[in-house]
C-alpha cells in the first residue's frame, strides 16, 4: 500500500467518519481513497471547493463529536491557518495531514501560520507502516488532549508502496465527547466557540483560552516520541525526520561499517520536539549534524536542544528536481554519507559553546 492510502485506511479504522479535502499533489490520493472508502463505512467524504471550506466542514463534523480529518500540501495548509488557530482555541480535535513537497513545511507544521498561542501535536512518519500507526494514534491524541494533531509527510511517503499491517485501536470507544454539539436535548444549550466558554451567559474568555493553552506543558511532558540508534559511543549525532530519516539511518549504518562512530536521532513527534533526547546525545558527542530537505528549519529546534554543548552542522538543503515535489538530488545515501564524513569531528576538535550557526 502507498503511504497515503495506508494513512487513509488507518484513519477509517480509527473511527474517522468525516473527510473533506481539495486535491493537491502529493496529498490527493488520500482524498481519492476516502471518496470511495467513506461511503462503505457509513461516513462522509466531501469534495470541498477549497481548502478553506474543507477545514470548515471538518470543523463542523468534529464539533459534533465525529472523528474528522482533512489533508493537503503546504500550499493548501497555508489556506487553513485561521481555522487551525481557532480550532485549537475551541479545543476541537481534528486530524490534518500535511503532505509536504520536500520538508520545507517544518515551520508551517510545527509553528503554524495562524494567530495566537496555539500548538498542534505534529507526528512525522518515515514509512507507510509508521504512517498507518501514527494516523491511528493521531485520532487518539486529538481526543485525549482535545487538541488538533497534524501528520507531516512528504512526496515519497505518500507514493511509496510498502507492506502495511493495521492494528485495531480501542481508545476511540472511550473518548470523552461530552463537550460536543448534539442538540440540547435534556440540557441547557451549549456554545462551542474559540472566543469563549461553553457556558451560556458567561463572558469568561480568559479562563477558556488559558485552558486551551495550559495543556501544552503536559503534552510536552507526556507525548514525546523519538527513534534513536547507535548513540552510546557516537562522536557525531545526525538528526533527521520523516522519510529522509530512513535514508539517514541507512547512511549511519554505512558510516559505522567504515569505522565512523555515528548515531542518529529521528524525532517522531516534531511538536513536542524530543529536546531531551537530542540534548543527551549531544552531551556525549563531539558534534551534531542535521539532515533536512529545506533551507534549515528543524536545525533551530536542534540548536535549542543542544544549547551550545556541541557544534551543530546543517548537512541537508533545498532539494528540488524539475517536478517541484521536493524529492531532488540530495535525498541520496551516498550524498548523505559524504556530508557525514565532511562534518565528522577530527580528534580533539570539539569547540565548546559553539552554536554552529
Amino acid at each position: 500500500m502507498e503511504g497515503s492510502a495506508a494513512m487513509a485506511e488507518a484513519a477509517v479504522r480509527a473511527g474517522c467518519r468525516f473527510y473533506a479535502g481539495y486535491p493537491i499533489t502529493p496529498s490527493t490520493e488520500i482524498l481519492e481513497y476516502m471518496s470511495t472508502r467513506m461511503p462503505q463505512v457509513g461516513g462522509v467524504c466531501m469534495n470541498a471547493e477549497s481548502e478553506i471550506e474543507a477545514i470548515g466542514m471538518v470543523w463542523g463534523a468534529a464539533g459534533c463529536g465525529v472523528r474528522a480529518m482533512t489533508a493537503s500540501t503546504g500550499q493548501g495548509i497555508s489556506l487553513m491557518q485561521e481555522s487551525f488557530a481557532e480550532l485549537a482555541n475551541a479545543q476541537i480535535p481534528v486530524v490534518t495531514v500535511n503532505m509536504c513537497r520536500g520538508q520545507g513545511d517544518y515551520f508551517q507544521s510545527t509553528r503554524g501560520g495562524g494567530h495566537g498561542d496555539y500548538r498542534f501535536i505534529v507526528l512525522a512518519p518515515s514509512s507507510a507502516q509508521e504512517a498507518a500507526d501514527l494516523a491511528q494514534l493521531a485520532f487518539d491524541l486529538a481526543d485525549k488532549w482535545r487538541n488538533p494533531v497534524m501528520i507531516m509527510g512528504d512526496f515519497l511517503l505518500s507514493h511509496t508502496s510498502e507492506i502495511v499491517e493495521f492494528h485495531e485501536t480501542v481508545a476511540q470507544r472511550s473518548a470523552d465527547k461530552s463537550w460536543a454539539i448534539t442538540g440540547a436535548r435534556g440540557r441547557r444549550g451549549i456554545t462551542l466557540s474559540p472566543l469563549g466558554p461553553s457556558e451560556k451567559l458567561s463572558t469568561d474568555i480568559a479562563t477558556t483560552l488559558a485552558h486551551a493553552i495550559d495543556k501544552h506543558a503536559a503534552i510536552k511532558a507526556e507525548e514525546v516520541r523519538v527513534d534513536t540508534g547507535y548513540l552510546d559511543d557516537a562522536e557525531l549525532v545526525v538528526v533527521a525526520f520523516g522519510f529522509p530519516g530512513r535514508f539517514v539511518k541507512y547512511a549511519v549504518m554505512l558510516a559505522r561499517e567504515r569505522g565512523l562512530r555515528v548515531g542518529y536521532v529521528r524525532p517522531i513527534t516534531l511538536w513536542p520536539f524530543p529536546t531531551q533526547a537530542v540534548a543527551a546525545a549531544a552531551e556525549r558527542a563531539q558534534a551534531v549534524a542535521v539532515f533536512e530537505l529545506n533551507a534549515g528549519q528543524m536545525i533551530e529546534d536542534v540548536q535549542l536542544a543542544v544549547l551550545g554543548r556541541a557544534p551543530v552542522h546543517a548537512i541537508g538543503g533545498i532539494s528540488h528536481d524539475h517536478s517541484g515535489f521536493g524529492v531532488g538530488p540530495l535525498l541520496n545515501v551516498e550524498y548523505i554519507l559524504k556530508r557525514i564524513e565532511e562534518v565528522y569531528p577530527k580528534k580533539g576538535s570539539r569547540v565548546q559553546g559553539n552554536l554552529g550557526l
Binding site: 471550506e53 474543507a54 470548515g56 463534523a61 481555522s83 454539539i181 442538540g183 466557540s193 472566543l195
Partner: protein, 244 residues
C-alpha cells in the same frame, strides 16, 4: 391582566448588548420563537458567524457552534452531514456572508445542503464600526465610502438572494425586513417556510432579513426604519424569490 407578549423561553435574557434600534435582536427573537413553536429546540444546531450577532449565542438556549468570519456555511455543511436529523441554521451578516464568505454560501447552496442560511443584511459592517460591505447600496455613506458608495470607485452591491436563487440546489429563497410590524410578521412566515423546506429535505434554504443599523447608518435609532424603507428596500425588494 392578560399577558399578550413575552420573550421566548429560548431567549435566556431580555437584555442584549447591541445598540438601541438595532434590527438583529428583533430577528433573533423571531427565530427563537419559531424554533420553540415548531418544537425544534432539542435538535437545533445554530452555526453563528462573526458580527454584532456574535453576542447572541450566549443568550440562546440552543446548541451553537461558533464559526469564523465567512465560514458558517461550510461548518454547517459538516454539521448537517454528520447529523442529518438535526435542524441546522446559520446566522451571518452581510459582511460575513456576502463579503468574506461568498464562495462558501454559493457552493453550499449549489450542493443543496439541507440547512437554512439566515443573513442579517444591514448593508454595512456593523461590528467594525460602519464600513462598506459587498451589500452597501450605491450612494450609502460609510466610513470607507465617505460621500456615498460610488459605482466607479467602489463597485455595485450584490443581491445575494437573487444570486443564490438561480442555483439548482436552492429550494427556498426569500427576503424580509424587520422595520415594521407587518414586516416582522412576514419575516416569521418566510422563516417558517424556509425551516419547512429544510425539514422536508428539499435542499438549501435562505432568508435574507434586512435589519436596521442606526449606529452605522449614522442616524438616530428612531430613524432606522425609515432609512431601511427608503434606502435599502428599493434595491432589495421584499418577497419570496424561489420556493420549490
Amino acid at each position: 391582566m392578560q399577558k399578550v407578549f413575552e420573550k421566548p423561553d429560548l431567549l435566556l435574557k431580555t437584555e442584549h448588548s447591541l445598540c438601541p434600534g438595532c434590527g438583529e435582536p428583533v430577528a433573533l427573537r423571531i427565530i427563537l420563537e419559531l424554533i420553540q413553536e415548531l418544537g425544534l429546540r432539542d435538535r437545533t444546531i445554530c452555526v453563528a458567524g462573526i458580527g454584532c450577532y456574535t453576542a447572541f449565542p450566549m443568550i440562546m438556549d440552543v446548541d451553537v457552534m461558533q464559526a469564523l468570519h465567512g465560514r458558517a456555511p461550510s461548518v454547517a455543511t459538516g454539521v448537517k452531514r454528520v447529523r442529518p436529523d438535526a435542524f441546522v441554521f446559520t446566522m451571518q451578516g452581510d459582511g460575513d456572508m456576502i463579503s468574506e464568505g461568498l464562495q462558501e454560501v454559493i457552493h453550499s447552496a449549489a450542493r443543496g445542503e439541507k440547512f437554512t442560511a439566515i443573513v442579517f443584511n444591514n448593508a454595512v459592517f456593523g461590528e467594525t464600526g460602519g464600513h462598506m460591505t459587498a451589500a452597501t447600496v450605491l450612494g450609502q455613506h460609510t466610513k470607507t465610502t465617505v460621500g456615498g458608495r460610488d459605482r466607479e470607485r467602489h463597485g455595485n452591491p450584490i443581491k445575494i438572494s437573487e444570486l443564490l436563487a438561480q442555483l439548482d440546489g436552492a429550494a427556498y429563497v426569500a427576503r424580509a425586513a424587520v422595520h415594521t410590524p407587518s414586516g416582522i410578521k412576514l419575516t416569521k412566515q418566510y422563516l417558517h417556510d424556509a425551516f419547512r423546506a429544510q425539514l422536508e429535505g428539499k435542499g438549501f434554504s435562505l432568508v435574507e432579513i434586512l435589519t436596521m443599523c442606526p449606529t452605522d447608518w449614522f442616524v438616530t435609532p428612531d430613524q432606522g426604519p425609515a432609512f431601511l424603507e427608503e434606502k435599502l428596500k428599493p434595491i432589495y425588494p421584499l418577497g419570496v424569490i424561489k420556493s420549490l
